[in-house]
């Protein structure tokens, strides 16, 4: 079998901020109405607590994001997805839930640099000055859905795989040297 290839194969661009497509990254969409079993399953899967509304809990290379009142996004190394899916199935057996591997359905970008927020402020109606640590926004980048959060001194942006090229184009356009907002 070949190695998994991310949508843009790690494309990058350096403007007034740095743009990198990263991945492939393991992602599991987990739907569940909540409760002790969910808390335990998430802890076992990615080592975090259940995130509160609009939050993301990050622990090393793993994370769990709140996506809706009954939907969570588990983030983990790509290679661990299979085992984690099996573990979730076991942990939540008998519970009404749905766990879907969406690792390949997404493209993930890192936007880094002192003015990284200015790149995103051109594309998303998000008040970055008030974006809290550990806050996850499900918003949009220009015309497509995008989720984003601050992490490691930059931002992680997630979009659908099929529009990775479009989003890369947006980020390159927005990070052009000389177009800083402040």
């Amino acid at each position: 079998m070949s190695d998994p290839v991310s949508a843009l194969n790690g494309a990058s661009f350096t403007g007034f901020a740095t743009i990198r497509e990263i991945g492939p990254l393991g992602m599991i969409s987990l739907r569940h109405k909540g409760g002790a079993a969910l808390t335990k399953a998430i802890k076992a899967a990615v080592g975090t607590k259940v995130p509160a509304q609009r939050r993301i809990e990050i622990k090393g290379e793993m994370a769990c994001g709140w996506m809706s009142p009954d939907e969570y996004l588990l983030i983990l190394p790509y290679a661990k997805v299979g085992a984690t899916m099996a573990a979730l199935a076991k942990a939540l057996a008998g519970e009404h839930h749905l766990a879907a591997d969406v690792s390949d359905a997404r493209a993930v970008f890192r936007v880094e640099g002192a003015k990284a927020a200015e790149v995103l402020a051109k594309l998303s109606p998000v008040d970055f000055a008030k974006l809290e640590r550990g806050e996850l926004r499900r918003s949009r980048a220009a015309q497509v859905a995008a989720a984003m959060w601050a992490q490691d001194g930059g931002f992680t942006v997630v979009c659908f795989r099929s529009v990775a090229g479009y989003v890369m184009g947006l980020l390159i356009h927005s990070a052009q040297p000389g177009s800083e907002l402040a």
Binding site: H96, L98, D104, A105, S162
Partner: protein, 972 residues
């Protein structure tokens, strides 16, 4: 002659000369000049021609209200029409050309309209071109359109880039004059996040020109202290060159930042459109001076008094050696004093008021300027520039008492607060008799969600025209002289750009126009690119007078965004070229590009239509792909197919409601074709459903239906059946899906190896998990072509590699990729329907002979009740049948089946239409499906389809299964 003064000019840098051209003529200016200042400094008083009469036009104003001095700026890929010279910053190499003239600005043929002016009154176009009716579309409109429009539309793509940006604040202050600066500081003091927008490149508004002191300090010192104060605050953002264009509900404001208009080609975005969300808007947008209506007030050299002052103080530009000032208020006296101080002559100040005693008039008298109270201008002398004025009594009818030679006229008819932004969302105005202007009514502002005022006006925008806080008295002077006869009124311009005169508005009133909105459109008053910033109040005052009504009763026209024009480029922002719209690519997209695929849009996806080879037409390529798939094996990228997981204890019940058939009874490991309808019963989507485990199903949808159907499922689950235990997940993009189709399909998969795909282990309409060629996959044995067919889903990250592996393994078996058109032909040969071809939102499954896919046993499903309605249950509906043309030709796309007679509109009656029509390379003839009245009972009948060229194509009605009726090929 207008010229540059030897001294002064607070905004220009005399050490930084810049060169620019106007109509090819080289001119010199300084850094800091506006283009208008640069033109005047070079004695270019004639800058354009008016719209209708092609009258000579000069610079009137000094700001965004300028109606006349619009130019084509730049050239080729940087050509921008209708650019206001007064707000265009001068830069080295700027190229401007004047507009609306032919063959030249100095000698313009269109000016003949001027001499015919009496034949082109208000509503001229409506009156003249109404008969004969067909002439409007074919004769009049094209001619008028060619004559219309001031600037040249660019013919090349825009060389510049644009972008949007989002911003958030508690208080947005618009306008950085004294009032705006104070408001920003006050808001910042409370800790609020403040954004301060200023359309000019500098702070200060009118104060540096009009006021010596602010809060007891010299104005320049006060300004620099304020600027430093705001700059030092973290919670204040000041944006220069940024014009708030529109205010919308919920504190949403659009603002246009002219980032690089003055530095073209430096790589920065030309404009940036700010999309600001604020809790409160404070408009400190100042006031705009009004012209006076006297005969000849449009001759180049007649300017607003404030503008004359601006040009003199800011840019050291003299409008001429001798300037006559004409006014109804004190502010214009400042202009006289400024000019006098600059060593220029002011032969007279003509003041319409009888008694004038204010401090400024006294200062003027003291400076030795002759002040004529109760006087007016009877007419301005000159053609392409002012040569003098005839003076008369304001109270009279224009008998000339005196003639004064001059080069310029500085006029002031009072000041109108800029209430545009306040009014965009419904803020109401009151008429203020003291200053003869509309001012915001603080009791009726536009509201926020909580009932608080969304927009507050401060300073001159609120009617506080003087920094002292004492409102000046500005009496109404709408016509000069008040008893002017028609001969003079015919020469009194209200709207300079659109050539609307006092006489036009009065004529409209006589013809019965009472509403200001109707009068505006009939006369075109205020409909030019300046949107009546100078003309509106004067125009409605004339209308009120003509109607014998009061101004408040007549009211204003509606203020709509944008305040000043925003270019399409700024509105489009980043959305151009490669990122004009999102383009969805499958994991195999690049491989298809390398293979020379010709793509077609499917929603936002781009799918290969066909893979043409050298020398092939697309049609030939499609035929080759179809034949190869039927005889060898074809590969289709089916990744775009929608894939939705539905799971939970109630999932079976849920799917039984969504689909017309029964999905709950589908055994694990098997597949079933299903139809979805909307509540009306109309067919909405179709696809194959696979039962994954006891409580999990995977629903395939059409490519364009994936998001819609997922939303549809969630809608029912969240809003109607919220207590059902069902979860869904749209996993469309998780998988790359490859259809391996044709007699050699199994051999190809066996070459890849890894799992048993034999007929026994994996029969038709079943699925299995496994590996092929080392790729983890799920294989569905389903067919949309009638051939032996497998659809193989692999994780998208392996999609490109798997496609390559299939291509490689297929070489020995004659594998070729095929595109969407081949897919269509293959399915049509088998009589399979396509959502969007056989359906159009008015078709129910029963129309398509799909009764077999509708459960008779189920109590309910979405659409069942709708389908029972008499019209949908009628036996007279058009129903799906197949057609074979008698001559083997292909029925034209979209053709109707004609019936006898004509309808009430004289159109031929119809009895059906084609839904799919192709040349079948397999059968070597045209085949078609279509809807025909009583179709299934008319087998063997011959019907006629109309054609685009005229005439008809005869076709025989038959069943829809053109190929392999018994399904032997797919079931091997």
């Amino acid at each position: 002659m207008s010229t540059r003064l030897a001294k002064g000019g607070r905004l220009i840098d005399r050490t930084a000369a810049v060169e620019f051209t106007f109509n090819g003529k080289r001119m010199k200016g300084f850094a800091g000049d506006s283009l208008a200042a640069g033109l005047l400094a070079n004695d270019q008083m004639l800058v354009g021609r008016s719209f209708k009469y092609h009258r000579p036009r000069g610079i009137v104003a000094s700001g965004p209200e300028e109606p006349n001095a619009l130019v084509n700026l730049g050239r080729e890929a940087r050509l921008e029409p209708n650019q206001r010279t007064t707000t265009t910053e001068l830069f080295d190499g700027l190229e401007a050309t004047s507009q609306n003239h032919w063959p030249s600005l100095e000698f313009d043929v269109g000016v003949i309209n001027n001499y015919a002016a009496r034949f082109m009154p208000a509503g001229f176009y409506y009156k003249t071109f109404i008969h004969p009716r067909p002439f409007w579309k074919h004769v009049f409109e094209p001619i008028i359109r060619r004559a219309a429009g001031l600037g040249k539309a660019p013919t090349q793509g825009d060389a510049d880039r644009y972008e949007h940006a989002y911003a958030f604040c508690d208080v947005l202050v618009v306008g950085a004059g004294v009032a705006g600066l104070l408001a920003a500081k006050a808001a910042a003091d409370t800790g609020a996040r403040v954004i301060l927008l200023e359309q000019a490149p500098v702070l200060g508004g009118r104060a540096p020109v009009d006021d010596a002191q602010v809060q007891g300090k010299p104005v320049e010192a006060w300004l620099s202290a304020m600027e430093a104060d705001l700059a030092a605050r973290d919670n204040v953002t000041v944006r220069l060159r940024t014009c708030a264009a529109g205010v919308y509900d919920h504190g949403y404001v659009l603002a246009d930042e002219r980032v690089a208009d003055h530095t073209p080609g430096d790589g920065r975005p030309k404009h940036r459109l700010w999309r600001i969300r604020t809790a409160k808007v404070i408009t400190a947008t100042g006031a705009i001076e009004r012209p006076l209506s006297f005969a000849g007030n449009d001759i180049p050299g007649v300017m607003l008094a404030g503008a004359v002052r601006d040009f003199a103080v800011n840019f050291a530009v003299s409008p001429g050696d001798r300037t006559v000032v004409v006014t109804n208020n004190d502010s214009a006296y400042q202009t006289a004093l400024v000019l006098k101080a600059a060593g220029l002559e002011v032969p007279a100040i003509l003041d319409a008021r009888d008694v004038v005693t204010g401090a400024l008039p006294e200062a003027a008298r003291k400076a030795g300027i002759r002040v004529l109270t109760g006087h007016a201008i009877a007419s301005v002398k000159g053609g392409k520039r002012v040569t003098g004025v005839s003076v008369c009594l304001q109270a009279g009818e224009g008998a000339v008492t005196e003639e004064i030679a001059c080069e310029a006229v500085a006029m002031s008819g009072g000041w109108s607060p800029v209430v545009h932004l306040y009014s965009h969302c419904g803020g109401k105005l009151n008429w203020d008799n003291g200053i003869s202007a509309f001012v915001p009514d603080p009791m009726r502002p536009p509201l926020n969600h909580d009932g608080s005022a969304m927009v507050e006006c401060v300073g001159a925008a609120n009617g506080d025209l003087d920094l002292s806080g004492t409102a000046p008295a500005i009496p109404p002077v709408w016509v000069m002289p008040q008893g002017a006869p028609i001969k003079l009124r015919l020469k009194m311009w209200l709207d300079y750009q659109n050539d609307v005169k006092v006489s036009d508005v009065q004529l409209a009133a006589r013809e019965g126009y009472m509403s200001v909105e109707h009068t505006k459109r009939y006369t075109t008053l205020g409909m030019a690119t300046d949107q009546g910033k100078l003309s509106n109040i004067n125009g409605l005052a004339i209308l009120a007078d003509a109607l014998g009504s009061e101004i408040p009763q007549v009211g204003t026209t509606t203020f709509r965004p944008p305040y000043t024009p925003v270019t399409i480029g700024a509105l489009a922002g980043e959305s151009r070229g490669d990122i004009f719209q999102p383009l969805r690519r499958t994991p195999m997209h690049e491989a298809h590009e390398r293979a020379g695929a010709y793509f077609e849009p499917v929603g936002l996806w781009r799918r290969p239509y066909t893979f043409p080879r050298a020398g092939e037409t697309h049609e030939q390529a499609v035929h080759r792909e179809v034949v190869n798939t039927r005889t060898n094996v074809g590969l289709l990228d089916a990744s775009t197919l929608g894939k939705i997981v539905v799971k939970g204890p109630d999932a079976g019940r849920f799917l039984d409601m969504l689909y017309t058939g029964v999905m709950s009874t589908l055994p694990v490991g098997k597949c079933r074709y299903g139809l979805m309808c909307n509540e009306q019963g109309f067919l909405s989507d179709d696809g194959v459903v696979a039962r994954i485990d006891e409580d999990t199903w995977l629903c395939h949808t059409t490519s364009s239906g994936a998001d819609r159907i997922h939303g549809w499922m969630e809608d029912w689950l969240q809003c109607e059946w919220w207590d059902w235990q069902v979860f869904t997940a749209n996993v469309t993009e998780q998988y790359a899906q490859v259809a391996v189709v044709g007699p050699n399909a199994r051999k190809l998969l066996e070459t890849l190896g890894g799992m048993d795909v034999s007929k026994e282990t994996l029969p038709f309409m079943q699925w299995a998990d496994g590996t092929l060629g080392g790729f983890p996959c799920r294989v569905y044995r389903i067919s949309f072509s009638g051939e032996l067919s497998y659809e193989i889903a692999v994780p998208a990250s392996h999609g490109a590699a798997f496609w390559a592996a299939c291509t490689q393994a297929g070489k020995a078996f004659g594998a070729m990729p095929y595109g969407t058109e081949g897919l269509h032909v293959l399915r049509a040969e088998k009589g399979f329907i396509m959502i969007g071809d056989e359906t159009d939102g008015t078709v129910i499954p029963q129309d398509l002979g799909l009764d077999w896919a509708i459960s008779k046993k189920k109590a309910d499903y979405l659409g069942k009740r709708g389908q029972e309605r008499s019209y949908l249950a009628s036996p007279d509906r058009w129903k799906l049948v197949g057609f074979e043309t008698l001559d083997g030709s292909v029925v034209p796309d979209g053709a109707y089946i004609i019936a006898d007679g004509t309808n009430a509109n004289g159109q031929r009656n119809t009895q059906g239409r084609v839904t799919s029509t192709y040349y079948s390379p397999t059968l070597k003839r045209g085949i078609a499906m279509g809807l025909l009245k009583h179709g299934p009972t008319r087998m063997g009948d011959v019907v006629e389809f109309n054609t685009v060229q005229g005439g008809t194509v005869k076709a025989r009605v038959r069943d829809t299964m053109f190929y392999d009726k018994d399904g032997e090929k797919q079931n091997v």
